[in-house]
Amino acid sequence: MAVIEAEHLSKRFGKRVLAVDDVTFAIEPGTITGVLGPNGAGKTTTLRMILDLVRPTAGTVRILGSRYRELRAPAQRVGALLDSSGFHPGRTGRNALRVHATGAGIAGGRVDEVLELVELADAADRRVKGYSTGMKQRLALATALLGDPEVLILDEPANGLDPEGMRWLRTFLRGRAAEGRTVLVSSHVLAEVEQTVDDVLILSDGRLVAQGPISALTASAQPVVRVRSPRAQELEAALRQNGAGVNRLHDALAVRGPSAAQVGDLAHACGVPLHELLTEQPSLEDLFLQIAGTRRDDAATVTLGDAAPGPAADSSAGPAASDPPREDT
């Protein structure tokens, strides 16, 4: 049974802002799933709807088989990090946790355990207003861990963490998944998430544009040919004339469409010398940019894994017949 199931979930704020638009997904137990997308894609609103903090305009979402508000002892089953600024600045870190532990019926000893776990024990008796952004983030994570929950929902947990903190977070999340727990983590830092998650949900303009195992998504994506030439401008013009997609890198061109052999042949035909020519499998970030870049014209959702691969990055694909036109974003 899926741990989190959302069906046709939508949220409209006022008349003009459609923050989440008909999103359907299921999160399997024991996985780390990344919710990815640029700022304003609808990630936070989706997470808040899962946690019953935001009421969906349409659709349903269930966590552990029921709505969040219907769970018994929810803080002991689902831990959430939503906002590292959600603490009274005049309260100490320890007391901030004690307030939530007391309300949730969690033993006081657990507060010290989670403070140790997030390496905040030394600062526990300082007021939160004296904490750095990274410390507040660790305190928010400690709050999520108070109930030793089976599901973790983390909104941008790496915000404010230094590289050491990010590595600690990666190791920590992998450890939770290894114990069979489920983690749903949102981020707009794709390179960071790529190293952590099993599956991804990619949101763009409030719509789910791709979902599936990260390895399948990147493997299905259109490869990129990287080419370096002292006469890059001429080569770029020739490639564009032949219908290739070209992005300029700082000392090279990233070419989508033709194979490396076709690029080499074209360069030879134009008399342009090449200093480098190789095929790269795109990173998650490349994939995301491809998908988000085509999103405005192509509304199809890419689903990989058990389902057949969809037209992930095919910018020539037309709009899905079932996809309604977007009214606004």
Partner: protein
């Protein structure tokens, strides 16, 4: 619900807001009373000077409690702690009802404390000055009970107003302007209307109990006797509290 109540009390104990409130009560009650006892002539002390003072103090302390209630609720929105409150207790009506109850209890304790401080200060001051002063100002136990109950209701009223408006500075400023300027003006110009407005009604339960001691059956200037004023106070609190709970249930926490 017990865990929730303990959590609310812990919220109060773990910040300085309640301590500041206690100091404000001290400031409003003890300091002027001590100055009065120290410097005014003995004859005046033995007449009705203390009663007049008590009347003023019994207006100011509930106002401090009202602001305390507003700060308690709006602080949850201002600092974003409402998110975690609702995550721990997603049945939001429970959060709201418990906050109203806890703040009402704290308001009553504060008023009880204020009354006790008045008695203690007058007792000590009387001994020092060598005069006998009626610290009650003629008020009966029933007067005090109503005064303490209304203090609790006013604190809860502040919580409910905070839940409705959410913006801390706006709520505090608007409420104080309404209570200290708008209502008294309306009451002065149109007593038949003004004396039914909320803070005028609260005053009729508190101030009048001291300024018209032991006169439960007497009608006040508005035509409301004290039991009636108390019932109208309850009605005001109930309406605003129910509205606050209802809106909290429907509001998105973004």
């Amino acid at each position: 619900m017990i865990a929730l109540a303990r959590s609310e009390f812990l919220k109060l104990r773990s910040t300085r807001t309640a301590l500041v409130l206690f100091l404000v009560v001290l400031l409003l009650v003890i300091v002027p009373l001590a100055l009065l006892l120290a410097f005014v002539p003995k004859e005046w002390l033995e007449q009705d000077g203390i009663t007049s003072f008590l009347s003023t103090a019994s207006t100011l302390v509930p106002l401090a409690l009202l602001v305390f209630g507003i700060l308690g609720m709006t602080g949850e929105y201002r600092h974003g702690t409402i998110t975690y409150s609702y995550l721990v207790t997603p049945r939001r009506w429970q959060v709201m009802v418990m906050k109203l109850a806890v703040y009402a209890a704290v308001g009553m304790v504060m008023m009880l404390l204020a009354v006790g401080l008045v008695y203690a200060t007058i007792g000590i001051g009387g001994l020092v000055r060598g005069v006998t002063i009626d610290a009650s100002g003629g008020a009966t136990a029933g007067d005090y009970a109503r005064q303490i109950a209304v203090a609790g209701l006013i604190t809860a009223f502040g919580v409910a107003l905070g839940a409705l408006v959410r913006l801390q500075a706006v709520t505090v400023a608007a409420t104080l302007i309404w209570a200290l300027i708008a209502e008294p003006l309306v009451a002065a110009l149109k007593p038949a209307v003004g004396n039914w407005l909320p803070f005028q009604v609260f005053n009729q339960v508190t101030v009048s109990s001291v300024s018209q001691p032991g006169a439960d059956s007497l009608a006040t200037v508005s035509g409301l006797d004290r039991p009636q004023a108390f019932l109208v106070s309850l009605a005001y609190i109930a309406v605003v509290a129910v509205a606050a709970v209802f809106i909290s249930l429907r509001r998105d926490v973004t």
